[in-house]
Structures are given as C-alpha cells and as structure tokens.
C-alpha cells in the first residue's frame, strides 16, 4: 500500500477539445477514506477509471508510491472496484466469485481457500458461500463484488462508484457502516464516488468536491460545511445550500444594497463581490440592529425541528434557519443578520475573503 499520486492527469474524450477531467495534480493518501462528491457528469467516474486503469489518461502520469503505473493495465494495479450495480459472475457460487480473481492469477489452491474464507468472514458472507450469487439480495451482491476486490494481497485501493445506487434505502445505512467497518479493519485506501452529500459526509475522512472536471475543494466534512472555498461547495453541501447575495466592497466595507454588513477581510480590491452565508448563520430580528439586511419575508417552511424563513432581498432569495418556536409572518419586513464567522466573500465563484464585524458594531 502506498499513496496514489496523480501528476498533471487529465482526460479528454474528444481529442482535447473539451476536458472531462482537467489536468490536475492530486494525492490520495494511504489508508484514508475519501468521498469524491460532485454532480452527475462532473468527471467522478472518469477520475476513478483513470486510477483503476480502465481508462488511460490523455495527459499526465499516475504513481502508486514510487511506482509509475501510467501504462500498467488494470489487472496489474491491484485495485478493487465496485460499480453502480452488482457485477457478479452470476452462474457461480459466492465462493467461486471470490476465488475467481485468484484462480486467474494462478494462486495455489490452499491459499485461495484460505483467502476466500478470510474475506468471507470479514464481510459476513460465511453462510452464503455456497449459494449461487445471483440469488442473493442486491446488498449482499454488492458485498460480494467488493469481496472479489479484497481477496487479493496488496490491494492498492478500493474504489466504489456509487455503490449504493441500487440498494434499498433502508439497507443503505447498514451497508455504509459495513464499508466503514471494512475500512477500519483492512486499512485500505478507499475512494467512494457519490453525488449524495449525506453519503459523502457520513462516510469519509476527507471529502473531495469535483465540479466540471476539477477539484474545487477538499477537506473534512466540517471544513466543507463551515468554510466553503467555492460557491459550488456552499450550494452542494448543506441542506438547504448557502445563500448567495450580490454585494459591493468599497472603502473596506461590505454593502448589500444600502446596508453595511461588516468589514471586508482579505486582500480585496473594491468592486462587486458576492456574499455567501449558510442559512444556519442567518439570524432574523424584527428591529434593525447594525449590521443587518432588510428583507421581506416571503414564506416560512415548517421542517419539524426548525423553520426555514424565506425572504427576498432586492430580488434575491435569502433563507434563514430558525428555531421551530419562532414566529415570522409572510409579508413582514424583518432584519437578517449574518454571523461574522459564517459569512464569506466570493469573486468568480471562488472565495476571496470573509467578513468581520464593524468596530463597535452591536449584534452581528
């Protein structure tokens, strides 16, 4: 096992006119659990297939530790990959499915048996070993296809390409915990592709957010939530996503419309910016406190544990997450305050600064 390093790796399906994956340099660190998160068509599967060798990148080199594997075929890379739906040798028993990759590599019979039994124990497949694999439920089938990757020695990484797509929602949770357990027990590097933020956030040590073929941010779930480096991360992670309001930086102050909401922090030339703030960090009050943005309440969504107050700021939507007990009437004009450490400034979708409270400013 070793780090997996991508050096300037990029891929184009149309001879270089457009990049499905823009050339990037990136390291998957050994033994970590990664979630690769992004909308459909953002290049997640392309990236995964490049790592496993099913796709050879248009440019760049791939290193497993200090071994250059760019031109090594899939079979030589010792990758375990699980696909969106269970891929099994349906005519074979579970045992034969697990033994198949070893038999192809001409392992001695005794070792095959020993490895298969170890993996089946790890995955809890012992009682199903001699059933035909097609008769298992989809969840177990996915486990078996994962097992086919784990039986080999020296697994470089386990790649999971939206493995829970076909799984019953009730089972997803169980299976995800199973995956975490396996990760803990085996210590393999895990790359988990998903477009579901809950899946990504509950599963991974580190979440890598991909958009239009490039990594826009990576970090722990908390980092992505509390400190989005890109507007897209703010939108994509969190429910509902981050509010974005057009603003202006002038004289070191940030204004939304007429209201000054704080001091701009960061090397920031004056000009238009966008303020991003999560609904969790918006506070609503009836009286004006400085700094605060005046807005008309459009509606209140009762979500049970909390309410979402939807408001309109000069034609832009603003959502605040408030306690379930609070009362806000649609049509009323209220003041919305942004928590200082929860509001950020974006230019060209990339974070360029944050907001500090005004000196001597109350509230915030």
């Amino acid at each position: 096992m070793a780090d997996i390093r991508l050096e300037g790796v990029g891929h184009s399906y149309d001879g270089g006119r457009t990049w499905a994956l823009k050339p990037m340099t990136w390291t998957w660190r050994e033994a970590r659990a990664y979630a690769l998160l992004g909308p459909s068509g953002c290049g997640k599967t392309t990236l995964l297939n490049i790592v496993s060798g099913l796709l050879s990148p248009t440019v760049g080199r791939i290193w497993f530790g200090d071994r250059d594997v760019t031109s090594v075929p899939t079979a030589g890379r010792n990758i375990a990959q699980v696909f969106q739906f269970p891929v099994l040798y349906e005519q074979m028993s579970v045992y034969d499915n697990l033994a198949f990759p070893l038999r192809n590599r001409r392992y001695p019979k005794a070792e095959i048996d020993q490895r298969v039994r170890r993996v089946s124990q790890l995955l809890g497949l012992d009682e199903h070993l001699h059933r035909r694999s097609r008769r298992l439920d989809p969840g177990r089938q996915q486990i078996v296809s994962l097992g086919r990757g784990l039986v080999r020695s020296e697994v470089a990484a386990v790649l999971l390409d939206e493995p829970l797509t076909v799984i019953d929602p009730a089972l997803k949770w169980t299976l995800r915990s199973k995956l975490k357990e396996i990760h803990r027990d085996t210590g393999h590097t895990l790359i988990y592709v998903t477009h579901d933020q809950t899946e990504a956030l509950t599963f991974a040590d580190e979440v890598v957010v991909l958009k239009d073929g490039e990594v826009v941010q990576s970090g722990t779930p908390a980092e992505l939530f509390l400190s989005p480096a890109h507007e897209f991360v703010g939108h994509f992670i969190g429910s509902p996503g981050m509010n974005v309001l057009p603003a202006e930086v002038a004289g070191g102050l940030v204004r939304v419309g007429e209201a000054v909401i704080g001091r701009a922090v960061g090397e920031l030339p004056p000009g238009p910016v966008r303020v991003g703030v999560r609904p969790e960090f918006v506070r609503v009050s009836a009286a004006r406190e400085t700094p605060g943005v005046k807005a008309r309440v459009k509606g209140v969504d009762r979500m049970g544990a909390y309410h979402l107050v939807r408001a309109d700021v000069d034609g832009h939507d603003l959502v605040a997450k408030v306690d379930a007990g609070s009362h806000h009437t649609p049509g009323a004009v209220e003041f919305f305050h942004f928590a200082a450490d929860g509001a950020f400034l974006f230019r060209d979708e990339v974070r360029c600064g944050s907001i500090a409270p005004l000196e001597g400013g109350q509230g915030a």
């Binding site: 496993s52 099913l54 075929p73 899939t74 375990a80 990959q81 040798y89 005519q91 192809n104 086919r148």
Partner: protein, 311 residues
C-alpha cells in the same frame, strides 16, 4: 380484503373510501376485457384454425371425389407413422436439424464475438452479415445450385479442379447433403450472429471492466460473462433455427429436388410429394398433423430445457 384495503388507506378511512375499496374488490370479476382479444381470435381462426381443421377433416377420411368419401378414423395416422419412407425422412430431417444447430449456433456466436463493438465498422459488419438473410429462399437455392456445379459453378469447379476432389451433388448423396447443409449454414448463420450480437451489446461495460480487474482471460470473460448473458437470445435462436431447418423445403427442392435418390428428401419434400404430387389428401393430412405435432413437442422440450438450465 375490504377491511385490509381500508387499513392500507390509513387511519382516516371514511365510509366512502371503504365503499371504493369494496368496488376495487369487485373489479377483477368483470371479464369484459376478454372482448378486446376478439379481433385476434377471429383473424387467427380464419388464417390458422379453420385451415387446420380442414386438414384434420382430410386426415380422418378417404376422399375419392368431393361427394364420395369414407370416414376411416385413425387409419391414415397409423399407415403414415409406419411408412418406412416417412420414417427415413424423419430421421434424415432430424439429423439435418441437429447438424444445422451444431454448426450454426457456435459459428453465429463466434461471428458475433468477433464483430466490432463501436465505430463505423459496426454498420459495415452488420450489413455484410445480414446480406444472406435478405435473399429469397428460392434465389438462395438457385445461387447454390449454380455455385456448387462442377462445370460452371465457382465452388464446385474449384473443388473439382483446384483441390482435385471429385464433387458432384447430382450424383453423390454425401455431396448433395453437404451442399444443402452448407447452403443452410450460409443462409441462416447470420440470423444467429445478429441475435447473439444484440445479446452481447446489451451487456453493460462494468462487466467487462470487472473482468479486466479480475485478470480474466478472453476465454474466461466469454465463458463467465458473455455466454451466460446470451442465454435468452440463444434460446430464441435455437428455437427458430430448429423449426426452420426441420421444416426446410424451398432450398433443397431447388438444389437437389430431394435427390439423388432420397438422400435429401426431408419431411417437407416428401409431404408435398404426397399432398401436391399424388394428391393423397388423407395421408397428407395425417402426415401434416404428425409433422406439426413433432415440431411442437421438440420446440417445447428445447424451450423448457434451455430456460430451466439457467435457474
């Protein structure tokens, strides 16, 4: 049932909903939908059932003239099933079908595996493979009748004069058999190939990717991924090819006319000789029904075996 439906509807079940539940319960007893099948029944009756009944009618009578006929019961069935010529033709046809299946199914699958999966060459390959299927039966017969001739046919001439092997399908019964078999292979293997190709194309990419990851050889990939997933289309291919080859008529009729001797006189050729040549409607009727029955039984056996073996 009603109370169960009401329960399903949740806690707020009103009497009206209960009534609706009762209605839903009654619905399956309404059989008027069967009338929708009526057009099919009528058309099938006119095109298949009634003609078949005339055959049944013929098979139990000895007809001298349209007004002069005797009911003979199952006599024709007895005499036809004991007729040595019919029995020989039955075995011959069975052997022919067996050979056709043994050659065409593996060959068709092999062609399908070798056909390109993507690119412009796909359409080219499809057209070339499908070409023999577009040729009318009797034209296929004519093509092969000429092709296999020793004097002016390209194939026959090559075998005789280049390979130096004596080949004459009009005199030698083995040569005639081989000619008819090759003709059928040429004509119908493309059908198997196209069906198998469609089956192969429907296999999602991840199966092949998983095989790559598992270091499966080309043969293992074929054996464990492609072949199992061809079961459905191959069942259809086997049934179609069995039925067609068991009922083959036009091509051997054009090429050999059933000869030399009886070497290529299959059931259908013998049947048409009795029915149209000798105008023995009674025996021909009994023969037809037996023939029909055999095709049905063997197809049923094939279908059952092929679909069950996959479970």
């Amino acid at each position: 049932m009603t109370s169960q439906l009401a329960e399903d509807a949740g806690a707020e079940t009103s009497p009206r909903e209960e009534a609706r539940g009762r209605q839903a319960d009654l619905k399956p007893k309404n059989n008027r939908a069967w009338f929708l099948v009526l057009p099919v029944v009528v058309s099938v009756a006119f095109t298949a059932v009634i003609p078949l009944m005339t055959v049944v009618n013929f098979s139990v009578q000895d007809i001298f003239t349209p007004t002069d006929r005797i009911f003979v019961g199952l006599d024709w069935f007895r005499s036809i099933s004991r007729d040595p010529e019919v029995r020989a033709a039955f075995l011959r046809t069975l052997l022919f079908s067996a050979q056709v299946l043994l050659v065409e199914i593996p060959l068709g699958v092999a062609i399908a595996v070798c056909m390109p999966r993507r690119g412009v060459s796909v359409s080219v390959a499809l057209v070339v493979v499908a070409l023999p299927l577009l040729i009318p039966w009797n034209v296929v017969g004519t093509i092969w009748q000429i092709f296999a001739r020793g004097d002016i046919g390209l194939g026959g001439w090559t075998i005789n004069n280049v390979l130096g092997i004596g080949f004459n399908y009009t005199l030698d019964s083995t040569d005639a058999w081989i000619t008819v078999l090759l003709m059928d292979v040429w004509h119908w293997t493309p059908l198997v190939a196209l069906l198998a190709y469609a089956g192969l194309r429907s296999i999602p990419d991840p199966y092949f990717q998983a095989a790559q990851i598992d270091a499966a050889s080309a043969w293992a990939t074929f054996r464990h991924i492609q072949l199992p997933r061809l079961r459905g289309v191959l069942t259809i291919a086997v049934l179609l090819r069995f039925m067609d080859s068991f009922m083959i008529y036009t091509e051997p009729f054009v090429v050999t006319g059933g000869g030399p001797g009886n070497a290529t006189s299959f059931l259908s050729i013998l049947l048409s000789k009795i029915a149209v040549g000798q105008f023995d409607l009674g025996p021909a009727g009994a023969f037809s029904l037996l023939y029909f029955l055999i095709v049905q039984i063997i197809s049923y056996v094939f279908f059952t075996v092929l679909t069950r073996s996959g479970r």
